[in-house]
């Protein structure tokens, strides 16, 4: 209780604020006395104590308030003070309550007693658990060297423990699926072109002020980040034209003015043809390109010959539609939002170049630093906190699994696939211990079969987890972490169009024997003998961070837990400068050329499906985050399983019906869990689609277990992006198994001769 005593934001103040807002709209009738409740306890969440905090149901981290009644969290709402989301949170944000109270939560430290992956455990004490982890870390480091330690991390919970691995000196102190299975190639392309992380955790695309929004397989809407979706919808409401490029008729496609159902794997061909058309017809922003960009001639040359007609054939699109898209963008420049996309590790080789093409298109249209285009972050000042840990970057070993294989990997850490490989083969050096925090790697890194085999070779594997995920099941020790609702973390700043500063603080005390990530990291560091974490608790360093912003926790909470700042997103042309070596936008990237990689985008065709198979593509359910929320009681009830989208003409040809249950078999013979069909004209016949994250294989996830199918378990082959080592997720092919019958899928849109066909080398019946 004492933690909450400082909170000054009373429920009544909040209600008064809301009433004020509503009265100005003037449509809410006043109470009618006969129906009002006479009892003292107000109904619903009314009268609850409200504690401001920050969501972590996904990494967007919307400001929230936790509503507490009788010591229990009853509801979560957006923090009305937040200029980004206001009182709103998405389905997942609303469902944090059921993460906190999930009966499947890991309640105590656990030690494996059966085989790895078998799921047999015994309860142990925190002392025992931490001692064992510390002992193994020291032992592995001593026996095999610092780089034998590897850390997979994601999200807020992982940040403190990362300091330990960094201090231990391993180059593998961070290995984030968030980059290698998500935004890595996109982030790299934009960093090199525009000099900042235009797309990473945050995305600086001013859709709210755009006249045209151009989405290349961005599933915005199915992929929900509240303020981002709000800006997108605001843009559409203001009359922005929407162009959507996607093999599937997504929620965004349904709102589009122009929809281009592209052949999977050919996006770069489309973008090159658009560049060529825009350049050769003088539709680009010559003034911007001449004065503020470098490398134009190289881009012009790279796009030369990429005609609309050529792209129409490669991409299986109408030439008129491609032209229409070019004209819409050019006529409305510079106020055009060319979205960098998200989760874009699709085809391996061409991913970085594809994103570079999107960045170049923005620049050609002058859509940088202007309303409606890409914009610049507004950093919000806070105090810099060091934990007294290792401040220097780790020294790389003689052969690094980062830059010695992928020249730009070290910007992001160690490529996940390379860690798995090194663990399996011992080359270029042995990796013998994995620590995992905040990420279910088995359901995230491609080829889970390979990941599980690698785990078998480890001396030790441990994780900090909230739920008994597949990865937890494969661990030797599980440390039960507190949820975001039970802990302080850090001061969070938001540097988009409505900047603010806020802080995560507990809305309830940790349940069971769960402990906060800071406490766990600090205790572990002590046991390893590291001089680390020179603060006693989170509040101490939070005060330090706030001091740098001229605040204290008490002061911040007096203001509703959040303070706002003015944004500075746009730049006058005369002052236009970006943070690249030349200070200009780099249309062609010399750093890439120096490493014998394409300095300008090039279309590298990805092999077409083998005969009888179609490409497996995946996306998001707006109700779920990764594989993290399928066990959430409320979210599970809204969307318990995924469905396989299959083209209606294709389905008819092979006698498949909507709603019937099938199994998928991929090119390597791996089979999925059963999944129901969604037969629709809204997908091309050369691909099938499912939302990611379903089909849990951990029995301990009692609600999500075996519900729907996992795309991940069908991704048994992947190609590396040569820039950073990100892994491809759209290079697997499937056919359908119904009952005992394997159904080959006929080819209804054959690829042109320019696109090679994938050849199946292995045959077999793995499952």
């Amino acid at each position: 209780m004492k933690r909450r005593s400082f909170l000054k934001l009373s429920a009544s103040a909040c209600a008064a604020l809301a009433a004020l807002e509503l009265n100005s709209k003037g449509f809410i009738p006043k109470a009618s006395a006969t129906t009002s409740s006479k009892s003292k306890e107000l109904p619903g969440s009314l009268g609850a104590k409200e504690i401001p905090s920050v969501c972590e149901m996904c990494f967007w981290r919307c400001p929230i308030v936790g509503k507490i009644k009788n010591g229990k969290l009853v509801k979560i709402e957006g923090n009305p003070k937040s200029p980004a989301n206001g009182p709103r949170v998405c389905a997942r944000g609303n469902s944090g309550v059921q993460l906190l109270y999930d009966p499947d939560r890991i309640k105590y430290p656990l030690k494996r007693v059966g085989e790895r992956g078998e799921g047999k455990w015994t309860r142990i004490s925190w002392d025992e658990a931490l001692d064992e982890v510390a002992y193994n870390i020291k032992k592995v480091k001593q026996k095999y060297g610092k780089d034998a330690l590897a850390y997979f991390d994601h999200g807020a919970s992982a940040e403190f423990m990362r300091e330990i691995f960094k201090t231990l000196g391993t180059e593998n102190y961070t290995s984030e699926p968030a980059f290698y299975q998500c935004v890595g190639p996109a982030a790299l392309a934009y960093i090199k072109t525009l000099g900042y992380v235009t797309t990473g955790t945050r995305q600086y695309v001013d859709m709210g002020n755009a006249k045209v929004i151009f989405l290349v397989a961005s599933h915005i809407g199915e992929n929900v980040h509240v303020s981002h979706v709000r800006e997108y919808i605001q843009g559409l409401q203001n009359g922005a034209k929407l162009i959507v490029v996607d093999p599937r008729f997504s929620v965004a496609a349904a709102k589009a003015d122009l929809y281009l159902p592209i052949r999977p794997g050919t996006d770069t061909a489309l973008l090159l043809a658009m560049m060529n058309y825009i350049i050769s017809n003088n539709l680009y922003d010559k003034e911007f390109v001449d004065n503020y960009c470098t490398g134009f001639d190289k881009v012009k040359k790279a796009a030369e010959g990429c005609t609309i007609k050529w792209a129409a054939k490669i991409c299986d699109l109408s030439a008129d539609d491609i032209k229409k898209a070019c004209h819409l963008l050019a006529e409305n420049r510079p106020h055009v939002s060319i979205h960098p996309g998200r989760h874009s590790t699709w085809y391996g080789k061409g991913d970085t170049n594809r994103h570079q093409a999107l960045a170049i298109l923005s620049a050609l249209l002058g859509a940088v630093g202007v309303p409606g285009g890409l914009y610049f972050p507004t950093p919000v000042k806070k105090g810099h906190v060091t934990f007294g840990c290792h401040e220097k970057e780790a020294e790389h070993p003689d052969v690094s699994i980062q830059d010695d294989f992928y020249p730009f990997a070290s910007i992001f850490g160690s490529p996940t696939g390379k860690i798995v490989e090194a663990t399996s083969t011992g080359k270029p050096y042995p990796i013998k211990l994995w620590g995992i925090n905040g990420v279910n790697i088995i359901q995230t890194i491609p080829n889970p079969y390979q990941t599980m085999e690698a785990i078998k070779k480890l001396d030790f594997i441990f994780c900090e987890e909230i739920l008994p995920t597949e990865t937890a099941i494969w661990s030797d020790i599980i440390l039960p972490g507190a949820t975001y609702l039970e802990r302080y973390d850090s001061v969070y700043t938001y540097d988009l169009l409505t900047p603010y500063l806020t802080v995560r603080q507990p809305v309830v005390e940790p349940m069971f024997e769960a402990r906060t990530p800071f406490w766990i990291a600090r205790e572990l560091a002590k046991r390893i003998g590291l001089e680390c974490f020179n603060y006693n608790n989170e509040k101490e360093f939070i005060e330090e961070e706030l001091k740098g912003a001229g605040l204290t926790l008490a002061k911040l909470n007096e203001q509703g837990g959040l303070v706002t700042f003015k944004a500075n997103p746009y730049r006058d042309r005369k002052d236009f400068k970006v943070n690249t070596e030349s200070g200009k936008v780099q249309l062609s990237i010399e750093d890439f050329e120096d490493e014998d990689l394409n300095g300008v985008p090039k279309f590298i065709p990805t092999p077409a499906p083998p005969v009888g198979y179609v490409r497996l593509i995946y996306g998001r359910s707006p109700v779920h985050t990764f594989t993290r929320t399928m066990n959430n009681k409320w979210l599970h009830n809204e969307c318990p399983e995924n469905r396989l989208w299959i083209n209606d003409t294709l389905a008819k040809k092979v006698g498949l019906k909507d709603g019937e249950e099938v199994v998928l078999e991929n090119q390597d013979g791996y089979r999925s869990l059963p999944i129901k069909l969604k037969v629709t004209p809204g997908i091309r016949p050369d691909a099938v689609y499912m939302a990611h994250g379903f089909g849990a294989r951990s029995k301990a996830l009692t609600k999500g277990y075996k519900k729907g199918a996992s795309d991940q378990f069908l991704i048994s082959r992947y190609e590396d992006d040569p820039f950073i080592g990100a892994s491809s997720h759209r290079t697997n092919f499937v056919r359908i198994v119904k009952g005992q019958k394997v159904i080959d899928l006929p080819e209804l849109s054959p690829p042109p001769a320019e696109i090679p066909r994938f050849e199946i080398r292995r045959k077999g019946g793995k499952s």
């Binding site: 009738p29 129906t35 009314l46 709103r88 949170v89 469902s95 707006p622 409320w634 809204g682």
Partner: protein, 245 residues
């Protein structure tokens, strides 16, 4: 007389289900019951092009609610007061339409949990909460309790894209009145079922076409409930239940 109403803008809706969960949290609606839902329709070809849209639904607080007429509870006189002090006395059963707000509500103290109203609703907007020792009918109240505290309905407050607009139809200047007048909002009705729902939808023509095709009720569900006969059967059934219990 006021009539509370909601307009749902499908051009804004992305189908995120925040509304459904906020409602569940606000009113502790047990899984799997729903007062507030999101269903999807499509992608499917329509005469106006390919459509893919959502059906965010809730109780329609109809002009001519059928749920209130099938309720077997004895009518009782009740006094209602409006916000400006007007008083009205009407006879109500255990479920009734508030004469001043137009909200269709349930008097839980009088509900016997027979489920007649649940079956009568052509929108499936009601459920019988069997999690309770003494099951009661339940459904959306337009968050009447929150309105009394000057707050919007929970689903409106959480809607991430501002797709839910709530207000009073008797006020010609309210956002709902204006949207219905200017944006061609439709009600989810069919030739066979038109009982004056007060949830309206706006959106692209193709989306509204698909919405109606998939989700407009076509079955006069309340006619099957056969109110008077059923009432007698129910009452005797309940009496015998009470005796045996």
């Amino acid at each position: 007389m006021s009539q509370l109403a909601m307009v749902i803008d499908l051009n804004r809706c992305v189908g995120c289900h925040a509304c459904a969960i906020a409602c569940r949290a606000e009113w502790s609606v047990p899984v799997p019951y729903k007062r507030n839902w999101v269903k999807s329709a499509g992608p499917e070809k329509t005469p106006k092009g390919m459509a893919f849209t959502f059906y965010p639904g809730l109780c329609n607080h109809c002009d001519e609610p059928k749920c209130t007429t099938v309720c077997p509870a004895d009518p009782e006189e009740r006094e209602f007061k409006s916000k400006d002090g007007k008083v009205k006395k009407i006879e109500i059963r255990a479920t009734y339409k508030d004469p001043f707000t137009g909200a269709v509500l349930i008097d839980k103290s009088r509900c016997i949990g027979c489920g007649a109203c649940v079956e009568a609703c052509p929108y499936g907007a009601r459920y019988l909460n069997e999690e309770l020792d003494d099951p009661k009918a339940d459904k959306c109240t337009f968050c009447t309790e929150r309105l009394e505290h000057g707050l919007e309905p929970a689903c409106v407050r959480t809607c991430i894209s501002g797709a839910r607009i709530f207000g009073d139809l008797s006020d010609k200047n309210s956002s709902v009145s204006k949207l219905i007048k200017d944006k061609g909002a439709i009600r989810l009705v069919s030739e066979k079922v038109n009982i004056g729902p007060n949830v309206y939808y706006i959106g692209k023509e193709k989306d509204l076409y698909l919405l109606k095709k998939k989700f407009a009720p076509t079955e006069r569900t309340w006619e099957n409930v056969m109110a008077p006969v059923r009432r007698n059967i129910l009452i005797s059934a309940f009496k015998s239940l009470k005796v045996t219990a």
